[in-house]
């Protein structure tokens, strides 16, 4: 499961304008990369235009999913991923990216002309979030909890084994104590009988 594209667009007016974007096209052959990239920009513009402010959307198209989130300030974030990628992580990422973007560029910076707003953090995010199990905290917690559960199950099994061994030890020590008692009485009997030579 992977992310192919993260983009922030301005969707206040009809032709949506791409403010910044990052693509990860390593899974396409060298020849199709540029056209795929253009398709991505085009589709993300369309989806951004159709997303109303304050709305989150997931659009599926062929084998890809577009996760869109539009803010009331007139910017929308789009993530294109394959179908396996969990939507929850994608939307969390969108919220985070849009927050940082809006903190970095106040509304005036992009509401004027169609300027490019470079946002280098997108590059790190697209790399980091390729594996959602690592990057998203909820999934990380869930994974660690599952591992802990497995470890605990193994522990309980070993404790059961220990219980069995302890049972056998109890039996053996019982036998040993009985035998040693007999040994003691025999020895005592030896002492009391006097006329043995």
């Amino acid at each position: 499961m992977k992310i192919l594209y993260i983009g922030i667009l301005r969707n206040e007016e009809k032709p949506a304008i791409e403010l910044c974007a990052e693509r990860d096209l390593s899974s396409y052959s060298r020849f199709t990369r540029t056209s795929v990239g253009e398709f991505m920009s085009l589709f993300s513009k369309t989806v951004a235009e159709r997303t109303r402010p304050g709305q989150r959307q997931d659009v599926e198209e062929q084998s890809y999913t577009f996760h869109a989130y539009a803010r009331s300030e007139g910017v929308a974030g789009i993530i294109i991923s394959d179908q396996e990628y969990p939507a929850l992580v994608a939307h969390q990422l969108l919220g985070k990216i849009l927050d940082e973007f809006l903190a970095k560029y106040p509304r005036s910076a992009f509401s004027g002309a169609a300027k490019e707003c470079p946002f280098p953090a997108l590059k790190e995010y697209i790399v980091k979030y390729q594996d959602p199990g690592q990057a998203d905290s909820i999934m990380k917690i869930q994974k660690e909890l599952d591992e802990t559960k497995i470890v605990l199950h193994k522990t309980i099994e070993s404790v059961l084994e220990r219980g069995e061994k302890i049972d056998s030890l109890v039996a053996k020590s019982d036998g040993l104590s009985a035998q040693s008692k007999m040994f003691y009485t025999q020895a005592k009997k030896q002492n009391s009988c006097c006329s043995v030579m």
Binding site: L88, I166, V170, S173, L176, S177, K181, A187, Q190
Partner: protein, 373 residues
């Protein structure tokens, strides 16, 4: 300081004091002394380059502090407006967009003010440092202390504003809860099911359930969402609580099909309100599910630990039995060894006696045989 609201710029007073001090220092100054440094020294002094900038920095400090104070006052005004909006308990005139915008703006302001105060603090430390090197003992120390007090005061007030902001947000969520519960008294939960069928958003993810139980909860989660989705942890927890409450109170949802046709008017009303928020409800519902799954897992882990503890305590009792048995064995074997030692010593001691007795008997036996024969 005498003014709690504004920062007084006392630079002109300070300048006059410095001029007087300069005159007195010029009178007292010995040639070549490195101790007393004039305010606007000749370039021979090592910190000569530092002191003119400190004067500029001091007035700059005062300017920055004044700007921050104004910013804090403005933010408090906006917070008051937000508080008024949040306190309104009307059922329908709720203005979520305005509240969301206000919340966002206030948050930005707080972040900006925080940064400015941080910069101001650094500035104050720099000026304090350069003043200590420059040796302006009397007035410099007071100025430094004044700056420190100013920074502390600004930080306190910013903290107060932040606390008020959080309280207002909590009040707002409580009111939303109350208003939604009142609304649900008038409208049945089935209408959301019909709205769900009518929503035109693209195919939602398979992880999302279609049960009306989960539909009613997003209804309540919607209004807190726009302004507060990115805000701190009280919000998701409160939403979770809302979900839990609904899950416990919600009456028979599966009989929805029969009730579906009974109140189309209220369905329309709710449809209009819920239309734009369908997928975001999904998102919140999904987060809620994920967190509930984590909670369940943690509960299971707790149970497993409990079982483990129980098993180990049972086994400890058995181990005590083994211990007792081995102690018995040791005792018995020791006793047996003592007996055998006694026997051995007896046999040891007896040997000579036995041999002598045998010898005497044999002698008597031989004599008796000789006498008889």
């Amino acid at each position: 300081m005498s003014h709690p609201t504004t920062i007084q710029d006392r630079t002109p007073e300070f300048r006059s004091i410095l001029a007087q001090a300069q005159k007195s220092l010029a009178r007292q100054r010995k040639p070549g002394s490195a101790q007393s440094q004039p305010l606007l020294p000749p370039s021979s002094q090592p910190n000569g380059a530092a002191t003119p900038p400190t004067r500029k920095q001091r007035s700059e400090f005062a300017r920055n502090a004044a700007g921050i104070g104004r910013g804090i006052a403005g933010t408090m005004g906006k917070l008051q407006r937000l508080g008024e909006l949040a306190k309104r308990k009307t059922l329908f005139d709720d203005r979520p967009v305005e509240i969301a915008e206000l919340t966002y703006v206030i948050k930005q302001d707080l972040a900006g003010l925080n940064q400015q105060i941080g910069a101001l603090q650094q500035l104050q430390r720099q000026t304090g440092g350069s003043q200590a090197a420059g040796g302006k003992s009397g007035e410099g120390r007071e100025e430094g202390e004044h700056n420190k007090n100013v920074v502390v005061l600004l930080q306190d007030r910013l903290a107060g504003v932040t606390v008020n902001f959080k309280e207002v947000l909590e009040v707002r969520t409580k009111n939303i809860q109350a208003s939604r519960s009142r609304q649900d008294n008038f409208v049945s939960s089935v209408s959301q099911q019909s709205q769900q069928q009518g929503s035109t958003a693209a195919r939602l993810d398979p992880g999302r359930t279609d049960s009306p139980l989960y539909n009613t909860t997003p209804n309540r989660g919607r209004s807190p969402k726009p302004g507060q989705q990115q805000s701190s942890t009280p919000q998701p927890q409160q939403q979770q609580q809302q979900q839990q409450d609904v899950l416990s109170l919600d009456p028979n949802p599966s009989s929805g099909g029969a009730l579906y046709q009974s109140n189309p008017a209220s369905q329309h009303q709710l449809q209009l309100m819920e239309e734009g928020a369908g997928p975001s409800n999904t998102y919140i519902a999904q987060r809620g599910e994920a967190i509930e799954a984590i909670e369940r897992t943690i509960g299971e882990l707790g149970g497993i630990f409990g079982q483990l503890a129980q098993m180990v305590s049972e086994q400890s009792e058995q181990i005590q039995r083994i211990d007792a048995n081995t102690d018995d064995v040791v005792d018995n074997v020791e006793g047996a060894q003592r007996e055998l030692m006694k026997y051995w010593s007896r046999v040891q001691g007896n040997r000579w006696l036995v041999a002598k007795m045998f010898g005497v008997l044999m002698v008597f036996f031989l004599l008796w045989v000789l006498v008889a024969g």
